[in-house]
């Protein structure tokens, strides 16, 4: 009953098909506005920060840990960078300090999760609130002025092949993470921890260490995303938390692509841009403000429900079948005190 989906890799690459059809539909619908290089360049650059944040969310998520503070971290990094520059520090100092702030917050999150044994969901939710408070303390709740420094804006807005260079940064980060997660032991360990922490521990994986590192990585990426945003769009008091849900949405959506069932780099990036394409196209048709939110949220729920549900159903059916076979084949387990009899009382 689940054999039909195998052809054309529709399961794994449904996002690509969807992307292609969105592009075709909007190109026909808005032939003068949509299929232009300006559209391509602006969508690519505008979503680069969200893409970096999505990758940041993804790393701890692979190990089964949520980082809900990533939006607040990025926001704080943005404001720190801007304030440092307006107070006369060099761009290099501003960039490094802002990224270090992100890493430090990640390390604190790691400490709370690994050492204090607070669930990551609660720990980072609390941290997000604490960071929002710190942000008000630092800024006095008034938006600082944008640094009028052309080198600073050039950091992300220099053109490379028509694209703003921030797109290149994002792709480099993605490539590095893809390598780290797919082709190094650390990445493998992280996936193993996400699959079964106890089995990982008993296979010699230092679960606490890698969990901690994954949170530091997500904090660092949030710092980088914050710097990129500051350079691209200037300071904002509230963009970070608003990007949290889209980041998670992209990662969950992405896990239905390329290697279904696994959070993966290119799936997340693809999801970001499929959604962006849809939103952009609709924005050309109508100018309502709520489109982005509605489209992202709706697409997330629909896609994960359909794809994830189907995968789970497939896996579950397979597992049940195996259990049944095992039950039949295996005489030795019939005498086991902990056999399934324990469940049907």
């Amino acid at each position: 009953m689940i054999g039909i989906n195998r052809n054309l890799g529709f399961d794994r690459y449904s996002g690509l098909y969807l992307w292609a059809s969105l592009i075709i539909v909007f190109s026909i619908w808005q032939p003068r506005l949509f299929p232009t290089s300006a559209t391509v360049h602006s969508v690519a650059a505008n979503r680069a920060v969200a893409a970096v944040l999505a990758l940041g969310v993804m790393i701890p998520l692979i190990g089964g840990v949520f980082d809900l503070a990533i939006g607040a971290t990025a926001n704080l990094a943005t404001l720190s960078a801007v304030l440092l520059i307006t107070n006369g520090h060099s761009i290099a100092v501003a960039v490094i300090v802002a990224i270090l702030i992100g890493a430090l917050i990640g390390a604190i999150n790691g400490f709370i999760v690994v050492r204090l044994r607070v669930g990551s969901f609660i720990a980072t939710l609390g941290m997000a609130s604490v960071l929002a408070a710190v942000q008000i303390i630092v800024t006095g709740n008034s938006q600082p002025r944008s640094p009028s420094n052309s080198t600073w804006t050039a950091l992300t807005q220099t053109k490379v092949l028509g694209f703003q260079i921030i797109v290149l940064y994002m792709l480099i980060i993605a490539a590095v993470l893809w390598w780290g997660l797919r082709h190094t032991p650390a990445g493998r360990y992280l996936y193993a921890i996400g699959s079964s922490p106890e089995a990982a521990r008993l296979s010699g994986v230092r679960v606490d260490f890698y969990t901690w590192m994954s949170l530091i990585a997500s904090g660092t990426l949030a710092g980088i995303a914050g710097v990129l945003y500051a350079s691209l769009s200037g300071p904002s008091l509230s963009y970070g938390p608003a990007l949290l849900l889209p980041a998670f949405a992209a990662v969950f959506l992405g896990s239905t692509q390329f290697s279904p069932g696994r959070y993966n780099v290119w799936g997340s990036i693809l999801a970001i841009y499929v959604l962006a394409t849809g939103v952009k196209g609709l924005q050309l048709v109508t100018d309502v403000v709520w489109l982005d939110l509605m489209f992202s949220g709706g697409a997330l729920i629909a896609a994960v429900a359909v794809a994830g549900g189907r995968q789970r159903a497939g896996a579950e059916a397979k597992r049940r079948e195996l259990v049944r076979q095992e039950d039949h084949h295996d005489r030795s387990s019939m005498g086991e005190p902990s056999a399934p009899a324990g469940e049907d009382g």
């Binding site: 079964s196 521990r201 005190p337 902990s338 009899a341």
Partner: protein
């Protein structure tokens, strides 16, 4: 009022001579063979009937048939309270008045007694709101019926093990109507207790037996499954013994001796040893002075003062009933479980507590009993499962060598006969249990350990695969690895072990060598009747005594 009904069970049934449980020519065939073969069993109302049998004798299958989980072969007759059980229907089993208390009691530890008693039948409510006073009253009544002097508001976690079992029994016996059934929602006719004392300390057993007697006094037939022979004589009126799916005896306990019971349990044929002759290299290995593993006064929540050594090339088995500490020993040595005291040395290097990674760096391998939770990664591929503990071998800066990984996975698939052979990249969940276990072994073999710690190493593995795993283990032993294998499958221990450590109540009760290693003596010793089998003066026996 309900208590009054219960005390006159015969009045409810269609005839006065109704049995609580009547089984005739019950046969259950699985693909692998016959689990039950023409079993008959009769339990009168108010009778406590003990059911004994080795692991794999068919006890669990019998219970599952009664519970409606398994469908027996056609021609089997099953009656509960005089009415035919609709086979394979859990609903029918419940409606006819069969209740089950499993070893895992299924109580919510953090909730109160009265809540636990209400989870099954539902809370009494008014306009959707729980009527707490009625819930409490109902719980009080249920506890009183069981003669349990407990506060219904007490949390389950604050109770003693026997009290918990008592609450579980009370919950099973709660009168609950079965509203949507066409069948009469009869009273409880039969209570099945599956090894209720397996996890109880000795001091608690008496209390539990009291509870069981109270139930029987209400006219309910009790099927009491146990491993402990003492209890049979203390509580049961009759006892039945299953062996290899066949009922070998069903006798009044009054006329029964322990030896007769043991004879039924084990059968004469099993007493001759049929182990492989692998003692050759181990005897020469025993001459070497240096032990691979030496455990000194290891103590934890379930282990007390455990000391022993394992030498290179030796296969040492750990036997014992559930709860004897058998199932915790390997995990505690490896560091998967906490330990309170004692030291562990691997080749005279000390092994710290709770550090599986350090144990692995000392070339120790550990196969846990809970494969699905602790042993493997179901949603990672077989390839990744095999390489996870060996990633350093595949790390060629800057990439993990996929080619080498695949080649080595293929080699272990070949070597251990994992099926399907092409499925190297498939998630482990798509393999059968036996093949999953082979993959787990592949992971460890790849590391070439000097010490194997194995918990139920061939659980869920069919006979052929079992032999393949054993021979791979023998190869490792031949090359000098030491193997400590804990198993509830006594036959397996007899087949592969050079020496068997028998655990009882967290201590090493006996150490069996050579000819002593047979099903008979292992079982006797595990059940605490060792004196006539084991010669005193074996080194470990002395160590424990001191």
């Amino acid at each position: 009022m309900q208590a009054a009904d219960m005390s006159t069970p015969g009045a409810l049934g269609p005839s006065v001579s109704t049995s609580a449980l009547r089984i005739e020519s019950l046969t259950k065939t699985f693909v692998g063979g016959r689990a039950l073969d023409g079993v008959e069993l009769n339990i009168a109302p108010g009778e406590i009937h003990a059911l004994l049998g080795e692991n794999g004798s068919g006890k669990s299958t019998l219970i599952k048939v009664l519970a409606g989980y398994h469908r027996p072969d056609p021609g089997s007759l099953l009656q509960i309270g005089g009415l035919d059980l609709e086979v394979g229907s859990a609903h029918s089993s419940h409606a006819l008045g069969a209740r089950f208390v499993h070893q895992d009691l299924g109580l919510v530890e953090s909730a109160s007694i009265s809540d636990n008693l209400a989870f099954g039948p539902g809370f009494p409510t008014k306009w959707g709101t729980i009527r707490s006073r009625r819930t409490r009253l109902r719980a009080t009544a249920a506890l009183e019926q069981m003669e349990l002097d407990l506060d219904p508001g007490a949390l389950i976690e604050s109770l003693s093990p026997a009290q918990k079992t008592g609450v579980a029994v009370a919950r099973a016996l709660l009168a609950d109507s079965v509203p949507d059934s066409g069948q009469p929602a009869g009273d409880v006719q039969l209570l099945v207790l599956d090894e209720p004392t397996a996890r109880l300390p000795d001091s608690e057993v008496e209390h539990l037996l009291e509870i069981v007697r109270t139930v029987a006094d209400r006219g309910i037939g009790v099927l009491y499954v146990t491993h402990r022979l003492d209890e049979v004589f203390q509580i049961a009126e009759r006892a039945s013994v299953l062996r290899d799916g066949v009922k070998v005896a069903s006798e009044p306990v009054a006329g029964l001796t322990r030896d007769a019971l043991l004879h039924h349990l084990l059968g004469a044929a099993l007493e001759q040893p049929h182990r492989l002759n692998i003692a050759d290299e181990s005897s020469s290995a025993a001459g070497q002075p240096k032990a691979t593993l030496s455990v000194d006064r290891l103590t934890s929540d379930v282990l007390t003062d455990v000391s022993f050594e394992v030498f290179p090339g030796e296969v040492v088995g750990v036997a014992g009933i559930t709860g004897s500490g058998r199932d915790a020993l390997c995990a505690t040595i490896f560091g998967a479980r906490a330990r309170d005291e004692g030291t562990v040395h691997i080749r005279s290097e000390i092994l710290p507590a709770r550090r599986p990674d350090l144990a692995m760096s000392r070339d120790v391998a550990y196969v846990p009993a809970e494969r699905k939770l602790q042993g493997c990664f179901l949603d990672l591929s077989a390839r990744e499962n095999i390489s996870i503990a060996n990633l350093r071998d595949f790390w060629r800066v800057p990439l993990l060598s996929r080619t080498k990984e695949t080649a080595i996975t293929k080699r272990w698939f070949e070597r251990l006969g994992v099926r399907p052979r092409e499925a190297i990249g498939q998630p482990l969940s798509s393999f059968s249990g036996g093949n999953q276990q082979k993959v787990v072994f592949g992971k460890w073999f790849q590391r070439v350990p000097v010490m194997f710690l194995l918990d139920e190493p061939t659980q869920g593995v069919d006979v052929g695969a079992k032999a393949e795993l054993h021979s791979a283990l023998f190869d490792a032993a031949q090359e000098g690895a030491a193997i400590l294998m804990s198993s509830s499958d006594v036959d397996e221990l007899v087949t592969v072990c050079d020496r068997v450590i028998v655990m009882r109540s967290g201590r090493i009760a006996d150490t069996l060598h050579g000819d002593q290693i047979n099903v008979h003596s292992i079982t006797r010793s595990a059940l605490g009747m060792a004196g006539d089998v084991v010669e005193p003066g074996s080194e470990s026996a002395n160590a424990v005594a001191s």
